[in-house]
């Protein structure tokens, strides 16, 4: 079982959390005006990286907060965690 460091509660067992997809997905500013390809990309296109991946998790059975995790998809190792709304931290590279 993964041990995930909630930025608010500290290290907790994986079963207290829910995975919530890739992090830092930015909604197109003028959603109503943007073209189909841009909107489809926002909805469906994800990086699917092999290696360090920034993703959203929610501490469902804890503080209830969403936050971000950089996890290595190859080794399942959690590299770092940081609060929602923060830029991807140094350990994981660019935003």
């Amino acid at each position: 079982m993964l041990l995930i460091e909630c930025p608010h509660c500290g290290p907790r067992a994986e079963i207290e959390f829910r995975y919530s997809g890739e992090a830092h997905m930015v909604r197109p500013a003028a959603a109503a005006a943007c073209d189909d390809a841009t909107w489809a990309a926002y909805l469906y296109l994800r990086d699917n990286v092999r290696g360090e991946h920034a993703e959203r998790w929610r501490h469902t059975h804890g503080c209830g907060q969403f936050f971000n995790v950089v996890r290595d998809t190859l080794t399942d190792r959690v590299v770092t965690t940081y609060p929602a709304g923060h830029a991807r931290s140094a350990a994981g590279g660019e935003i």
Partner: protein, 172 residues
């Protein structure tokens, strides 16, 4: 009331008394104003609790405090927040949840039978939501033992699991 649920040597689990529980959400930057409304200091340390005039405030999330106090005082406490000039939410969850008090030398072992949390990380006054089996529970380490509270509809499951753990601990 203290309905006994189980005993295991000097350790026991019993029904927690009926208390008022008001769930307060507000912005962390408004903590001083929220404290003034509550009438006592709300903790800014996560997973810690503070107390004042018969009430306790459990800091369960950066923007969330659970106010626990005497049943008779719930209307008065709720009224203090009604006309507040800051953005907040106060929900009376007293009837939603039920509690179990665990006391005695094997209280930690009873909880550990269903809980993935390192219980030693919570010092007296410490509190957190976690899992007990498949159910979200609130754990609160009090001076005389643990208070575990959970949704009323899950109570039969929680009690059954607690009894199963006790049976395991009792068997040689």
């Amino acid at each position: 009331m203290s309905d006994l649920i189980l005993t295991l040597g000097d350790t026991s689990a019993s029904r927690a008394p009926d208390e008022a529980q008001l769930l307060l959400h507000g912005h962390p930057r408004d903590r001083a104003a929220l404290s003034a409304l509550a009438g006592f200091d709300l903790s800014d340390t996560m997973l810690a609790s503070t107390a004042g005039s018969g009430w306790h405030a459990l800091h369960l999330s950066p923007d969330e405090w659970l106010l626990v106090g005497p049943n008779g005082g719930r209307g008065d406490m709720a009224a203090r927040f009604a006309e507040a000039p800051i953005v907040l939410s106060l929900v009376d969850i007293s009837d939603r949840s039920v509690g179990i008090d665990l006391t005695g030398p094997l209280a930690d072992d009873l909880l550990a039978g269903g809980c993935p949390l390192d219980l030693a990380t919570l010092s007296p006054g410490g509190c957190t939501r976690t899992l007990f089996g498949k159910v979200t529970v609130l754990l609160w380490r009090r001076d005389d033992g643990w208070r575990m509270s959970h949704a009323r509809s899950y109570d039969a499951y929680v009690v059954d699991l607690l009894c199963a753990v006790a049976e395991d601990l009792a068997s040689p």
